[in-house]
Symmetry: C2
Subunit: 382 residues, 2 copies
Amino acid sequence: MATIELQISLILLFALAGYLLSSRINQSAVVGIIIVGIIIGPSFLAIIKYSDAIKMLAHLGAIMLLFAIGLEFKNREIYQTKYLLIAFIGIILPWTAGYFLANIFDYNFQESMFIGVSLTATSIAITASVLKEMKKLNTPAAKAIIGAAVIDDVLGLLALSIAAQSVREGNIELMKIVLTAMKAAAFLIAGIFAAPYIKKLFMKLDEQGVAKEFPDFLFIMSIMFCFLYASVAEIIGLSAIVGAFLSGVVLEGLKFKNSKDLKEGAEYLHVIFGAIFFISLGILVNLKELTFNILPFFGALILVAVLTKVIGCGIAAKMVRFSNSESLIIGFGMSPRGEVAMIVALIGLTSNIISQNLYVSIVMMSLVTTVITPVAVRNLKW
Amino acid sequence: MATIELQISLILLFALAGYLLSSRINQSAVVGIIIVGIIIGPSFLAIIKYSDAIKMLAHLGAIMLLFAIGLEFKNREIYQTKYLLIAFIGIILPWTAGYFLANIFDYNFQESMFIGVSLTATSIAITASVLKEMKKLNTPAAKAIIGAAVIDDVLGLLALSIAAQSVREGNIELMKIVLTAMKAAAFLIAGIFAAPYIKKLFMKLDEQGVAKEFPDFLFIMSIMFCFLYASVAEIIGLSAIVGAFLSGVVLEGLKFKNSKDLKEGAEYLHVIFGAIFFISLGILVNLKELTFNILPFFGALILVAVLTKVIGCGIAAKMVRFSNSESLIIGFGMSPRGEVAMIVALIGLTSNIISQNLYVSIVMMSLVTTVITPVAVRNLKW
């Protein structure tokens, strides 16, 4: 067994190879890192083992990733009713279509639930970075995509919590779903309402006493806060990453005079642990499990993944008076599933709800939608 | 068992309490955090368990700490013959004094050997972080402390292997000692000689290709590099933190045009994981094991531990032309034993060479020297 130092240095080395690959194939870094993860995993080279230590570091990576994403969200941007419609249809349609597709392919209730949920959340990180690369961030279509993707991410994580709970209990009990949804809503609303007070506390501390004396103090406090929210989210039955995301949103926009910068610090933490996270997503994929008999389902899953978002969000966009071409761009822009689908798949796999080949199908679906979007969005008429 | 999120958020919360305490008692943050660690550990409240996950994160903390410290050191400043004298006396005097003290208290040869060795190695982590906090890292005295402590750490680990071997086989085999010493020297020298080439590689990458495209690339590469050096150090029989420190020294002074800043990033990582490291140093201490009949020896051990380093290294510093006050600072700066003494004690305990209360005495000695140093160094005239 390699020491933890050696394991980490190897994983980071492979993450660097992932960046190189991304640069070569002109894709987002995430895509390259996951592909390298797949190559070094059991599918091909089987160099790196998914040890308990790596598993834990990858989990911290997912938390830091969502915290960093949260830190980029303004509360106000989430509250636009026209984005709400796009987001809502972009959740309901993929979820139900995924569920019924899985049903047609004879998957049981638990598996179908997870497949449906894995199709829901749009990856903000990926879409936003593509739009940024194209310098289109200030167009109305781009704003709609990001606004809706934000809501989608929260709703998708909520869907995950609901699915995980109903799967744990073996059936859908409406009361329990309502209860989870209410707890989640209460947590989110309380989090958002507490935001100004928490921000004020940070700002006040920055100006005086211990935080003024030690510039590290507020940074440690923010990370403590992130893990506290993650714990609370888990305790009330949500995913830990929902809490991490919310804590980021709560702390968004803080700028200090005396203390270390939160956003910058979260960025550095997420760069390292995020790399471990994305590499381990790849390591967990065993393409050998993508056997011939699952290929028809796999193909159908990708088709459903793309079409439900393109058509669903596209029609919703049209309904709130975007032009045809804008609606198509919004539809494709909402397609990449990215890390949330992978986290859903990972939770499904590690809690023995979905099998290895389903896990691989979902991760590959997420990868494919992630790669399709930039290609489509680039070639559409803006 | 609490989730890892809850454990981390609690530990960071207690670290914040440590900062508050430090601020109140006007001491270095390290002291406050370790004291809070003792209070929440088995000695008093027994709130936090030293789980495997926390152990690993604390270990990463020690590595990140030494990496960050290394990044502040220029090559030329470490390898100075005058530091060698300070380091050498700082090993020989505590070793022999500890051995004879143990003899006086009727401990046998094996026990006395281990007690002597446990007094040898200065903990760079603690002294350096105190100096860093005090923004004194660039003073001549601080440079002497760090330079000598690095050599000390290497010599201390060498002493451990000599003691372990002589205790195991009943004699000392010169060849094996020379071999370990040569491997250590080769590693340190090779590391320093490679530095300009490695720096040039980083600078070249910053200007072109993948690193220019992705500002995270070189930061990940530097952390990969840190863990790689740590691994190599462990493989050749040194402490991992010596490797981490050396990798920092190698990358010292790099400034990029397009990439994230290494020093800044390492700082953020070490803030969080360093807090976990210092809290867990406290958690490891169980004051209840310190029974009445061992108190006389315990008191004498602490006295010898402090005096041999303060007087030994102080006189050595004076001999190489430091001023009186600088020599005193260097003497106290060389006093904290930290994790190396604890490792020596642990090896002695697990190989049935020393008893449980001797083990606790050594750990407590290490802790007391660790707490005395920041107090002394802060209050001495610089």
